[in-house]
Subunit: 347 residues, 2 copies
């Protein structure tokens, strides 16, 4: 299958998207990959496979060697929309982490222009991009979440909190702007940092040494669930660490937990996934406290699609690509306008 | 100010968007309007003001007389992207009702291509387009909503309900697929109808003769709130009725309720609006039961922007257009890639 990987874009995670795309190139061997780069200026470029090295982008070599593309009906075009050449592929894959990719913008454009794609749809993006909506959504499905408080930049900062807390910009996908605050004295600074990135922040209790488990998957004809991983413990992932994390391409060990807990995690994943995330390969990060499962976050486009958690990632891509949700076809027959014209005696 | 009205698109409300655009033309006198039509095939056309008549679209005359446009960076272009002419305007206005307009797709494209626009942003669209998310969102803000149940098309239909109930597709903006069900015998048929339009439906108690109040507004430097209207009572709006409703252009009477209740309605509106709906003129429809205010729905792009509720709609457009939210500018300096290159001794 020919898969067009779309990556980069105007996002704080632009660079890790490049790393993610390069990783995918080394992992996906049974498909023919094409690479469509969106630069920070939101221009599209077709990148030759042999140029898929991080320096090609950081040195801006892509400006000279990449082929400029335009998005339009049914695909991407080289050299002008009127009398231009279409880039050939069977399915696109949205690998843009953070803004543009995970906030629903690129999904919207692919859908509008009727381009088949693997990735979260607009609504799924909006739900997972905003940490408050993720919480509300999970709770509505009976999936537990950690307590939280949302603060707007215009709100009073005089809030009652039990420290330590973790402060996160409400909308960023990465760890940027995230702080652990151990006492009231440090709150102001952490809020200043977070409000640099968003006008709303999320405040949660920070629970030292909490058990975390990750599960990725997709629903095709059947459930395609990965193994459950217990990621290496860190106080929390900083951006450098996360950056390297997106280059992972080796399979990891399954977490050493009992089957009952695994099943609780799987059931929580399924409730969250279906039907909102249809078409995407997502990773959910869960916390476990006293044998109860809590959703931490939904990664609707995980770093290199969490390939390292799957037995056969190449086959997974085929299964997802052949089971994509499709938009309803809306026929417009001008029935109402015609009726009104008739009533007015104009038809 | 030059305002480009974007209307039509691939939506069940395509026709009422045309009516809405024609109405706006008659209402907006202090601005210079341009009209950008998206046809059911999702092609863009610049329409001459003198052609803004419903028959021009229903007869497909636009295919011959409209000027085909392409969307690209900073605007819409006539005649090809490479060496083409830009359509001149100060701000776009998203007047697409239903799919494409209210689900965040067109907002996404305008934002991606850096085109200034009046209308809900992607996230606001996702929240108001899905009736479940609207409920969760309102509840999280302390705004009451009517009880509800969500049913997936794969779920058992054997649900305990107290009749009458109202059944709505979870995601459509219009009254399409909506039924009032008076007894268990009629449930199956109503669900069949609703599932024609969505794979999830919302079930709510139907409360005969409930008091409804509408309030529209926007937050610019200050709150710009409309009068509160008590819309004419119908069992509920069917599509024909709603269709005519979108052509309203005469100011209406303020609802005859006391100031305390008005203030409750206004406060609920403000909680919902700010900050998620910044940049848009929205209308919220509320129910009042025993002096308590309940959110019924959020119309993020109401029929002709609810002009008939405002004292000076022309001035409102100016105020909104000059107070639009802007995206953060993300600078990408390839700091991480450069560091890694250095560490590898490649730089």
């Amino acid at each position: 299958m020919d898969i067009a990987i779309i990556f980069g874009a105007s996002s704080y995670e632009h660079e890790i998207s490049i790393v993610s795309a390069i990783t995918l190139k080394s992992v996906v061997k049974s498909h023919n990959l094409k690479f469509i780069f969106i630069d920070s200026n939101r221009e599209f470029y077709l990148i030759d496979n042999s140029d898929m090295k991080s320096k090609f982008f950081s040195s801006k070599e892509y400006l000279k060697k990449g082929k400029k593309l335009k998005i339009d009906k049914e695909g991407f075009y080289i050299g002008g929309l009127f009398g231009s050449k279409k880039v050939d592929f069977d399915v696109a894959l949205n690998l843009i982490h953070g803004r543009d990719g995970e906030d629903g913008k690129v999904a919207s454009m692919l859908e509008f222009f009727n381009i088949k794609y693997i990735g979260p749809r607009v609504e799924a993006s909006a739900i997972s991009y905003n940490k408050l909506y993720t919480k509300l959504f999970a709770e509505s499905l009976g999936v537990k979440v950690i307590d939280y408080k949302v603060l707007n930049s215009s709100d009073s900062r005089d809030v009652e909190l039990t420290y330590p807390v973790i402060i996160k910009p409400l909308r960023l996908g990465s760890s940027i702007g995230v702080s652990i605050v151990k006492s009231k004295e440090d709150l102001d600074y952490a809020l200043d940092v977070a409000f640099e990135f968003d006008n709303q922040v999320l405040i949660e209790p920070f629970i030292e040494g909490i058990k975390e488990y990750n599960l990725a998957g997709s629903l095709t004809k059947d459930w395609q669930l990965s193994i459950i991983e217990e990621p290496a413990k860190e106080e929390f992932l900083d951006f450098d660490k996360k950056y390297l994390d997106f280059a992972r391409d080796e399979r990891v060990q399954e977490a050493n937990i009992d089957e009952a807990l695994k099943n609780k995690i799987r059931e929580s994943f399924k409730s969250i996934y279906n039907p909102v995330f249809n078409g995407a390969i997502i990773r959910c990060d869960f916390f476990v406290i006293d044998d109860e499962v809590y959703l931490n976050e939904i990664n609707p486009i995980p770093g290199s699609m969490a390939n390292y958690l799957f037995e056969d990632f190449n086959n997974l891509l085929s299964l997802v690509a052949t089971n994509l949700p499709t938009e309803k076809n809306i026929k417009i027959e001008y029935m109402y306008i015609n009726n009104i014209q008739k009533a007015k005696g104009k038809a």
